[in-house]
Amino acid sequence: MISTEAPASEPPIVDLRGLHKTYTFGESAVEVLCDVNLRIGAGEVVSLTGPSGSGKSTLLNILGCLDRPTAGAYRLGGRDVSGLSRPAQAWVRLHFIGFIFQSFNLIARASALENVGLPLYYAGVLRNRREELARDLLDQVGLGDRFDHLPSQLSGGQCQRVAIARALACGPRLLLADEPTGALDSRSGAEVLELLLRLQRRQGLTVVIVTHDLAVARRADRQVHLLDGHVVEGQERAA
C-alpha cells in the first residue's frame, strides 16, 4: 500500500482512505480505483496525472461529489461525504467545491455575468447582490470590461477566466480543474494557469489539477500519478 501524506499538520481538506470504485457490467466487474489513499492539506496544489483509463476522471468525480466510492471513506473538510444523497451532494458541490473544465462548459446563451452569477443563484443570493459579486469576480479575473459578452464573443482564454470566476463564486474550499489549459494555446494556457495559481495563493485555496501537461504538473506542490486505479507516485515539488 502506497499512501501519500499531506505535509501540513492541520487537518486535511481531502482525506481518502482505502477508496475503491468498481463498475459492474452484467457479470463482469471493472475496478477503476483500487485502494486509493490520499490526503490533501488546506492551501495545497496537487496535480493528478496518468494515462487515459488510469482512473483520473473517476477520482475527480468522486472528489467533486459527482460520484460515490464503492468502498472506503472520503472526508471533505473533516466531514464524511462518501454516502451522501444526490441533493446533499449538490449542496456540498455548491458550497465547498468549484469546477473548472477543459471545455469551459459555460451556458452558451447566457452572458459572462449571468454565468458567474449562476452558482450564487442556486445558493439563493438575490439578483442585485448576485450581480455585484459577479462583477467583482470578473474584475478579479481581468474581465471587468466583458460583463455582457456571450461566451461565443469571448476567446478561449477569456472563457476559461469566466469559468474560473464562476468556480470561485460561492467561496469554495476545493477547486477541481480538469485539464484547464487543454483547450488553450500555450500562451493563454500559461496566462490562465498563472491566474489560477495567483487566486489560489490569495485565497488559500486547495486545488487539484488533472493534466497531461508536465509543465502544468510541475507547478503543483505535489504530483500524484495514477496507474490502473492505483496511486503509484507522490512527488513533492522541489522547493
Partner: protein
C-alpha cells in the same frame, strides 16, 4: 423566499429571449387551443342566445291552440274547426286566462298605386301586437269599435310598408287587399326581422277579424286561437284548463283531441336543450385541441431537455440540486403556457368578435369560458411540463457532462 420564487420565474422567462423561435412554436399549439376553446364557448353561447331571442320575439306568455287532425281523419272522425263559440266559451269559463284572441289567416295580394305584394293577411283583435310584445312605430292599433263595424282599416308590417310605399309615409294611405276592398293604413309595426326558421316576421298585414270574416268567411274556422295566461306561472294550468273546455265543446270523449295546445316556451326549452348539448360538444372539441397543445409543449420540452443535456450537467456540477433543475424546467413550461394562453385569449376574443359580427349574433364574452380555458391550459402545462422536467432532474451529472 418569495423573492427567490420571483427570480425563478424571471430566470425561466429568459427562455423566451434565449430560444425565441422554439418558444413561439411551443406556444402556438396551446395558443390555438385556448383560442379555440374561448371561441367555441362564445359561438355556442352566441348562437344559443340568438336563437332564444328570436323565439322570445314570438311571445313567451302565450299558448297557441291550432286545429289538429292527428289520426282522426284516418279513423274517419270529424275535425271541428276553431270557431267563435270556442272563443266565447274559453272567455266565459276559463279562470286562468286573461285573454283569448282568434287569428284568421289567408295569403292574399295587397296593392297600392300599381305595386303588388303577396303576403299573409292576419284577421285578429286589437290585443294581438301586445300579446306578441310587438310595438307600433307609427299610428295605432285599430280598436274594438273598428272590429264591431268591420272597418276597412289595417296595420302594416315593415316589409309591405317598404315594398308598397318605399320611403313615403303609408299612414292614412289606402291599400287594396285581396283585390277586393280598399283598406286605410292606421298603424305601422316595428321591425322584428327573421325567425329562426328564416321566415320574414315583418311580412304581414293585420286587419280586424270581423272584416276578414266578411270577405273570406269563417266556415273553415280560425287558423289558431292565442291564449294569454294570467301569469306565466299559470301556463301549465291554463293549458290543461283550455284543453278540457275545448274537448268538452268538441265532444271529444276518447282523448283523441282535434286541436292541440302548444307554447313557444316549450320550443325555447327544446332549443335550449339542443343548443346546450351543442355547446358542450364544442367545448369538448376545444378541450381536445388544448390537450394536443399540451402534448406539443411536452414534446418540445423533451427535445429541449435532450438538447440541453450538457447544460443540465453543468448546472448540476456547479451545485444545482435536482429540485432546482426540476423547478427550472417546470417554470419554463409554465411561462410558455401562460404566455401562450394569454396570446390564445386575445386570438379567441378576436375570432369570437368577428364571428359575432358576421353571424349577427350577440357578442358574448364569457368570463367563465375564458377562465375555464386558461385554467385548463395551465393544468395541461403543469401536467405535460412535469415529465420533461423530471427527466432533466433525474439526469446523472457525469453522463450529462459527457454529452456532446
Amino acid at each position: 423566499m418569495k423573492k427567490i420564487r420571483f427570480e425563478e420565474v424571471s430566470a425561466a422567462a429568459q427562455i423566451l429571449v434565449r430560444y425565441p423561435g422554439r418558444s413561439a412554436l411551443t406556444m402556438l399549439g396551446l395558443a390555438i387551443g385556448v383560442a379555440a376553446f374561448i371561441a367555441m364557448v362564445s359561438f355556442g353561447e352566441g348562437a344559443r342566445r340568438s336563437v332564444i331571442a328570436q323565439f322570445e320575439m314570438l311571445g313567451t306568455n302565450l299558448l297557441v291552440v291550432s286545429p289538429f287532425s292527428g289520426q282522426r281523419e284516418a279513423l274517419n272522425k270529424a275535425v271541428q274547426p276553431l270557431t267563435d263559440s270556442d272563443v266565447q266559451s274559453l272567455r266565459r269559463e276559463a279562470t286562468t286566462l286573461r285573454d283569448v284572441i282568434p287569428v284568421a289567416r289567408s295569403d292574399q295580394d295587397v296593392s297600392h298605386d300599381g305595386l303588388h305584394h303577396w303576403l299573409r293577411i292576419t284577421g285578429t283583435l286589437p290585443g294581438y301586437p301586445d300579446l306578441h310584445s310587438w310595438t307600433l312605430v307609427g299610428g295605432g292599433m285599430f280598436d274594438l269599435t273598428d272590429v264591431a263595424q268591420r272597418a276597412k282599416v289595417c296595420v302594416l308590417g315593415a316589409t309591405p310598408a317598404r315594398i308598397l310605399f318605399g320611403d313615403a309615409d303609408p299612414l292614412g294611405q289606402t291599400v287594396t287587399v285581396g283585390g277586393v276592398f280598399p283598406c286605410r293604413v292606421v298603424g305601422l309595426l316595428a321591425t322584428k326581422g327573421y325567425s329562426a326558421g328564416g321566415d320574414d316576421l315583418d311580412d304581414l298585414i293585420i286587419i280586424p277579424v270581423t272584416t276578414f270574416d266578411a270577405y273570406w268567411g269563417s266556415a273553415a274556422g280560425y287558423s289558431r286561437l292565442e291564449l294569454e295566461p294570467l301569469r306565466p306561472s299559470l301556463m301549465p294550468a291554463a293549458e290543461r284548463e283550455a284543453s278540457e273546455i275545448l274537448a268538452r265543446l268538441h265532444r271529444i270523449d276518447d282523448g283523441d283531441d282535434d286541436f292541440k295546445v302548444t307554447s313557444p316556451i316549450e320550443v325555447i326549452r327544446a332549443v335550449e336543450r339542443t343548443s346546450s348539448i351543442l355547446s358542450d360538444l364544442l367545448r369538448g372539441i376545444a378541450a381536445v385541441s388544448l390537450l394536443v397543445g399540451g402534448i406539443g409543449i411536452m414534446n418540445i420540452q423533451l427535445v429541449s431537455v435532450a438538447e440541453r443535456t450538457r447544460e443540465i450537467g453543468v448546472r448540476a456540477a456547479i451545485g444545482a440540486s435536482p429540485t432546482q433543475i426540476l423547478s427550472q424546467f417546470l417554470w419554463e413550461a409554465l411561462v410558455l403556457t401562460v404566455v401562450g394562453a394569454a396570446a390564445g385569449v386575445g386570438l379567441g376574443l378576436t375570432i369570437a368578435s368577428i364571428t359575432a359580427e358576421v353571424m349577427q349574433w350577440p357578442r358574448v364574452i364569457s368570463g367563465p369560458g375564458i377562465a375555464g380555458g386558461v385554467a385548463f391550459a395551465l393544468g395541461v402545462g403543469i401536467v405535460f411540463g412535469f415529465l420533461p422536467a423530471r427527466r432533466a432532474a433525474a439526469m446523472d451529472p457525469i453522463e450529462a457532462l459527457r454529452h456532446e
